[in-house]
Symmetry: C2
Subunit: 451 residues, 2 copies
């Protein structure tokens, strides 16, 4: 079974290399993404890997040159397979190249060898420089309150999510605490919650459908802006003192959505993966009000991995500081085009305009509409331009993932997010060249009998 | 690029000069592990933190200057509290400083930003340079077979231990798989196994006392050399096809024990924390025979932390290579005193001689005796000089941890290892100054009525 898949992957790798060897070389240089990478990357954070298999089969079946609707795939991209099923945030690489040595990390062999970072800190393995940089950046952007809060560092926000569940679920409870989130929800929440069959917590599904029993403990996950649909969210079940909420604010940054208020929730998760695009460093942080919760989250990370890589913490500190350094004290860009959130806003804005244009041309598809809001950070009024697009197939098309797969566009279908298969999640973070091929191809997809 | 690189090197040169001056301060910090540090550090990897509290109270109660046996603590160290309850491996810092810039890691801001490292590798988030360095070092030392094995990187070997449990325990099993280890066993195994109340596995205690029910699934943990007692171990319950074994070989390196054979077990765990002393990087690796097991371990790390810090992987690769570089092709030190395992052997040897001398002077204490063996790597015949000493209190002393605590020596009592409280585990990895105070103090501990 793994062999079969492996062979298939190799075939497709050869195909895509033959189709565009120059691109592959460039990818290896910039982000290392190749065919198998796309498969593996689709693999991660998805409950059923078989799903990928299906898509692959669908696409390879049309690698003969004909797709299920009998038409020859468009010439642009030479029928190359475009994987938008994941969110490898490589689109800011150019900016970091521009920054040159300003963000270069240098660590001699004798440095950071101890398990400890700051023994006076509740989170004893967190580098003080990172704590300072996190607080500085939140203060600059104005997206979260950090005053009198505990900051806990994690190996990406995935580990912090699990640490939060551990900290918030009573160990002595007779039954596991239910973990819920309003659909469409982040596709890996169910797997991250259930993969160890924990007696502390279990996945409870769509918050809208959750029927709370008397005295039943539960935790609601609120991702805002939401992955996959980009909507700005509030808890739908938890109100007031009843229930607990974990706020995943990974995308609450000014390149994705207007910063309209200082978030001040009990437990907020952030990550460098989406804020600056440094996914490879695996650094996330939690901003926590309650000391005991912060202490238990720290304990989870202590038992799970005995702390978090100091090398990556120091690198993240340097990068977050370099972002803040591109702004003056009043929050204005010091230099046109050299300010990170200006650059990243520009990248996302260009892509969204391109996608909207393609969708406008094609009645088969539609996109969510976001309200225009004033961004307190940039002083600009704009509508959200999320890291993912939640594309809908209109009319009688029931399986949007399949339709796009037939046109060699890999996406993640609505079912993975506890929602309708008429929807797919599309990564807006792909490298530019692939994104251009995608939007052109999307605008020209035709389904027999439609339009 | 050549220009960029040129600038980079100049930049690096300047930085390294600055770093050298910072070093002195740094060393002061490292050597001066504060009170809270000792407390926090004891905190990690211990099931019952209250225990620490007790020890702390005991020691601080005697900070008045009188200990329970009514004698003034020795002048040496001025009654300073010495924490040997943990194993923060800072004792090789001097060596890494001698290496200067040879082991300095330099990462520009645009590098390693993707989630991916090697998409053709089963463990897609493992840096190829690290894989190569790991294989190279095992080949040089001859402590493990890596040919035709899968290498899986983890955020320290703690994460790999949990990944191994996830990979080896059948998900469909009606009851959790029992995880056992012969006492005295590593004190954090029980907590790491049970803290999430997993339905996949549960702590089964001392392997010697394990009574296997018919068809009962179980996993035996074998740490060799063993933490805490340094003994060379084999599985005591598992034989042949029955049962599964995880081998933790974190201490199977030539500074701790003679390398007598190429380990070739199904699943072996290693870590840079104990091999080179770089605990802050949180890098461990597993050498795995079975492809499906390696795949499931990779899946665990994908769901738990979406991979492992690339920055630390690159740093670990550089450090492991620099260790190998100090030897020629026939495995001989290129330069006297500049070869890592020669240096680290010397450090451990000096400390063990010092400890044995102190114990010889004091009839209250005894140490395990290790057989002399020929080390295939160094060509030297010596007895094991483990990272921890398993000290026994003789006669009527029942609580060895308490006795030493009264003399301001923090250790980890035998009970934490599922064994008798007449024993304590003592870290041999403390900085030299504290270790000297400890041995001197130990040699002069007197108990009313004894000897």
């Amino acid at each position: 079974m793994p062999n079969k898949r492996g062979t298939l992957m190799r075939h497709l790798l050869m195909l895509s290399m033959a189709l565009n060897s120059v691109l592959i070389l460039r990818l290896i240089y910039t982000s290392g993404i190749s065919w198998e990478a796309e498969k593996s990357l689709q693999g991660f954070c998805m409950a059923e890997n078989q799903e990928i298999g299906k898509v692959v089969v669908a696409s390879s079946s049309s690698s003969s040159g004909t797709s299920t609707d009998g038409r020859i795939p468009d010439e642009n991209g030479g029928g190359k397979l475009i994987n938008l099923g994941h969110g490898d945030p490589t689109m800011y690489a150019k900016f970091w190249h521009q920054m040159g040595n300003k963000t270069t990390l240098v660590i001699p062999g004798w440095q950071s060898i101890s398990y400890f970072s700051d023994v006076k800190n509740l989170c004893w393995f967190m580098e003080p420089d990172l704590t300072k940089a996190v607080i500085r950046l939140h203060k600059l952007v104005g997206n979260a309150i950090t005053k009198d809060r505990h900051i806990v560092v994690g190996t990406g926000s995935s580990q912090l999510f699990q640490a939060a569940l551990y900290a918030l679920c009573p160990a002595e409870s007779s039954e596991p605490t239910s973990v819920i989130s309003a659909a469409p929800y982040y596709s890996s929440y169910p797997l991250m919650t259930d993969f160890l069959k924990s007696g502390l917590y279990k996945w409870g599904g769509d918050a809208h459908k959750f029927r709370k029993r008397k005295n039943q403990a539960y935790i609601e996950l609120v991702t805002s802006p939401n992955n996959p649909d980009g909507s700005i969210r509030q808890a739908v079940v938890v109100n007031g003192s009843d229930g607990i909420v974990i706020h995943d604010l990974a995308y609450y940054w000014p390149q994705y959505t207007p910063i309209t208020f200082h978030a001040d929730y009990d437990l907020m998760l952030f990550t460098v993966s989406k804020s600056t695009g440094h996914a490879g460093s695996r650094i996330g942080w939690a901003v926590v009000k309650n000391e005991e919760v912060a202490r238990k989250m720290t304990k989870f990370i202590e038992v799970n991995t005995i702390g978090v890589s100091k090398d990556s913490q120091l690198r993240a500190a340097k990068i977050l500081n370099s972002v803040a350094d591109t702004y003056d004290y009043s929050g204005n860009a010091k230099e046109e085009g050299a300010a990170f959130f200006e650059y990243s806003y520009g990248v996302m804005n260009k892509r969204w305009n391109q996608l909207k244009e393609a969708v406008r041309k094609n009645p088969i598809f539609s996109l969510p509409v976001f309200p225009w809001s004033y961004c307190n950070f940039s002083g600009r009024k704009f509508e959200s331009q999320p890291a993912f697009a939640w594309l809908k197939c209109e009319g009688e098309i029931e399986d949007c993932e399949k339709l796009l797969g037939d046109h060699k566009i890999l996406t993640r279908g609505g079912k993975h997010f506890g929602f309708s298969s008429k929807y797919v999640r599309i990564s807006m973070l792909e490298i530019e060249e692939n994104f251009d091929i995608f939007t052109d191809r999307l605008s020209r997809i035709h389904v027999a009998g439609s339009g």
